[in-house]
Amino acid sequence: MELIKKHPILEFHHGKEVEFTFDGRTLKGFEGDPIAMALHANGIQVYRETPLMKRTRGFFCAIGKCSSCFMVVDGVPNVRTCVTPLKAGMKVETQKGKGLVPMDVK
């Protein structure tokens, strides 16, 4: 998985290249593009594991309707990574099982 080098029809205008972390690893992505795109460009396809059968899940619909792409982002679980824009310094983690929501509301 990587970026398309040359396309016969399209020109890609990416935002600023920023760093973010995935399970502790520092990766590069484009600010403003959905998190899932940055992960895919870095070769990462497994986003979470299901609670009971530990099945791997990842990208599927890309329009925020299917729930397959949920990950823990900056401590918040069940984030739809296919429609959530990447920000510099974001902490993205594989979601194992059901997400745990911090119960203390600040």
Binding site: E2, L10, H40, V46, Y47, C61, A62, C66, C82
Partner: protein, 366 residues
Amino acid sequence: MKMTVKTDLLIVGGGAAGLSAAAEAASAGAKVTVLESDLHAGGQLVKQTHKFFGSKDEYAGTRGFEIANILLDEIKELGDNVMIDTNTTVTGYYPESQEFTAMRGESEYYRIKAKKAIFATGAAERMIPFTNNDLPGVYGAGAVQTLMNLYGVVPGKKVVMVGAGNIGLIVSYQLKQAGVDVAAVIEATPKIGGYWVHAAKIRRLGIPILLQHTILEATGDRVVDGAIISALDDKFQPVGEPQKIDCDTICMAVGLTPTTELFWQAGCKMQFVPQLCGYVPFRDNTMRTSNPDFWVAGDASGIEEASSAMVEGRIAGFSAAKSLGLKVDEEKFKNYWTRLDHLRAGEVGAKIRSGIDQVKVNGWEA
């Protein structure tokens, strides 16, 4: 942070139908708010690198993503009349208080009171059951388009495309344009479902179209590494030895189904119409639903095409503006229906026409 927003006309969905409706209603003077859950407006148009069919009025010969820009330019000309909020998902409609709720991003939550609304919520990919169909690497065709055409990311190295409708055929071609190998397109029925010319285009590039075949299994430990396919007999039963195709992406193009939650929540009269690919609301010839304040346009009214989505959007926008008491030109209404009827007049439109016949009403009592 706003708690309740008021607007004259709320349009849920900023795709082909929603933007067309916004442009039409705003041109009559309506104050319009378009809420779009994706990060940019344009819906499925922005991912289409191929040139559209139809006639000049529907921008035939123009690439899909340019059509999105044409619509957005038209809306920009109408200035303050239209506000488009992206990254905002309408999460529900509450008939008790006649309010919508919406979420911007993942944490900002607010309510909307609208005098009238058009639901142009489009569609979602369907899935077919097969072993390991939940493995990462099994992606919706629209999702693959998003990866490669919007964000310039290579979706995979070798793809098996499931479904030979227009989407399966077009996305296969787009994969080739992005430099990705398509091992095969498999189709369960004895004929392609999409336009013949789309199939011819990919056949001459060496992409096989295997009719009367289906996928039995996706193989791979944590991600896809192959697809096991089988031939089908005339009763759609697997026959013969299954075959394994090495691939890293299985692209699902097995049909779309209308996104209709808001219609159900609003209590609109609905019906399951196979020809329109799911449950859809009843509508009159102004695209109004059984709820006097809500209209439908685009794939949410029945799976069809971008060209008809745009005209339905115009009709709904026109009618919603009229219902707000604004002055409209009836000639435009007649003109839009002529265009829509022409688009649906041929053999490929027969299925749509028979579907719409089941859910159209001549008028509502209220």
